[in-house]
Symmetry: C2
Subunit: 356 residues, 2 copies
């Protein structure tokens, strides 16, 4: 009897013990994930459905007009610049350049950030130095003067719009209460309305909504590091940034780390206030893995390098290889699919028939 | 009795007579349409499903690589030029400019024609003067030297490609038999394979396949005029052109009609043969309504004007307003919807991780 009994009960017992151990490990991991989720939910927010406001609601007519205008280079002084020149869908709303290039190959002073989720930034502006009030303001101001669209004045811009008759019904539908809907302000408002639809929820949003399996174990480790190292003290909210200004280079000059060829004084050049020296907008990190090169001057080519530099110059921390690897995996989870109305470009009203 | 009988039979008789007249009118119109269809089928052809060849078949791997490369500006010398710069989806595969603008704002010598259906042109070339053998040859030659991509040599081009690691598996999949698939020739071949998918069947193709109601009465009148005036003697085949060279300005100098600021000697500058003076490729007319401005130098802004000029300088005919109107309506029927793989741009492999 003693010989027969063990043949089944012993393995069964072992299995039971293993299962119990597995279950308790799973429970511990689940508890860790839930704690991380709760911590994350305090710091971050899922992306909204759209970024429309009472002042600029994302009405279909306004978005349709804004989308066409966004992709139309014919309005610019040399016929080559549209919003989509620096905010290309194929490069996730950027141009892949260190510094944007406008009309007649004029080099812009700074890197063009992604247009995706850009309207999240509200009054902190769509530019690096806080000199634009909103995406609408950014669009409108880009029309006149160098280096973007390069038009000499509002009249010249409106004349370009009126030369394409297909826009007439679109302007009327988008701004039904305006006697003459053709204006530079309405151009910017319509483009802003379109841009306010460009949200890119991804795995991190699923995580924040409670699905702890939406992030890989590496990405979750990266999220822990992102919080514990201190990145989240500035990169928080739905955009993981875009809501404050900070000095770039708290513990050492930024250019000693980035290798920047020129020193940009940042917000100081706007406010002339000494405490704004080297102060820039904290950029949003949504889709950051898809939008190299990095920083206001595009001086750093890769994301791991950018992450290490930020830890060093802002937080005086030298990341381990594992930390850098994990944080990059977490940042990957901030990539969402391109919005359909951005990946697919609109057919523009033809200028072919204006004398017909 | 004579008073009662007429109340029903007379209207019935009238209705019968009217129906008979209607039927005979319809039959006459149907006969006219069928005669027109038969005439058209001799001159034109519906677009093929794709334009792949035995040398360059449109395999999924080759098309996927070519589509990404088509939209990638990072290969060019200043990072701003991709095929899509001059062949934008939103402008039906053109740039809307009189003359294309390449790297560092260099102005190209001639207008960039639509890339849609361009491979139909075969050996007559993808350029205006017959100096490119195929879409592959055109793409490959655009990489090196001014004015397009502006790279100094093949090695520089390959180095740019290799700097984006995401292209490595795509090149391998597209050219599985090549030991080192990275080459300028393969770059052009892949882009050519993609371009060979860009066909745009429209209402005229439905007509040619037998649906005589696919064209409006005005478009059908325009088709009759297009044939009787003589346009179809050069603009025939599936592309309505693109298969021969002709002197531009048979009955008067073209520049006296177009207002061209410069006189382009056309194919003469390639062959140095006197009989090629002012000779250009006959362009395809597919989607012509969507691709202003017109002619090799983009000197004419509207389609009705271009149609009248062609009739005058090539055929010595002054079109009536009705003829011009009808022909433009017919040309409208050559517009097909944008191919999905052109209207929707691909997400490019990111350069973000190359040092990871």
């Amino acid at each position: 009897m003693p010989k027969r009994i063990p043949t089944r009960p012993l393995p069964a017992l072992a299995a039971t013990l293993l299962l119990a151990a597995g279950a308790s490990q799973a429970t511990a991991a689940d508890n860790d994930d839930r704690a991380l989720l709760q911590q994350a939910q305090k710091l971050f927010k899922p992306l909204p459905k759209d970024m429309g406001t009472r002042e600029n609601p994302v009405t279909p007519a306004r978005v349709a007009l804004g989308r066409a205008l966004f992709f139309d280079p014919r309005i610019s002084v040399d016929g080559t610049v549209s919003c989509a020149k620096c905010h290309k869908p194929q490069l996730y709303g950027t141009d892949g350049l260190a510094k944007a290039i406008g009309n007649h190959a004029k080099v812009n002073p700074r890197n063009s950030p992604t247009i995706l989720n850009a309207a999240l930034q509200g009054v902190v502006s769509a530019h690096w130095r806080g000199d634009r009030k909103s995406v609408e303001d950014q669009a409108t101001k880009s029309l006149i003067g160098p280096p973007s669209f390069g038009l000499p004045n509002n009249e010249a811009a409106v004349a370009r719009l009126k030369a394409i008759p297909g826009y007439q019904p679109m302007f009327k539908a988008a701004f039904p209460n305006d006697a003459d809907p053709y204006s530079v302000d309405n151009w910017g408002t319509a483009i802003g309305a379109y841009e306010r639809t460009l949200v890119t929820p991804g795995p991190f949003d699923a995580f924040l909504r409670g699905d702890t399996r939406a992030l890989s174990p590496t990405a979750k480790a990266g999220l822990r590091d992102f919080i514990s190292v201190g990145c989240a003290s500035c990169h928080n909210g739905p955009g993981l940034g875009g809501t404050s200004y900070q000095k770039f280079g708290v513990h050492q000059n930024y250019w000693s780390a980035t290798g920047s060829k020129e020193v940009d004084k940042g917000r100081f050049d706007v406010t002339k206030d000494e405490k704004d020296l080297y102060v820039f907008k904290v950029p949003i990190l949504r889709n950051v893995a898809m939008t190299p090169p990095y920083f206001h001057d595009g001086s750093v080519a890769t994301l791991p390098a950018a992450v290490r530099i930020m830890a060093k110059v802002q937080l005086n921390k030298t990341l381990s290889d594992a930390q850098a690897h994990n944080i990059v995996a977490f940042l990957d989870s901030l990539t969402g699919p391109l919005p359909k109305n951005f990946a697919t470009v609109p057919v523009l009203p033809s200028a072919a028939f204006r004398e017909r």
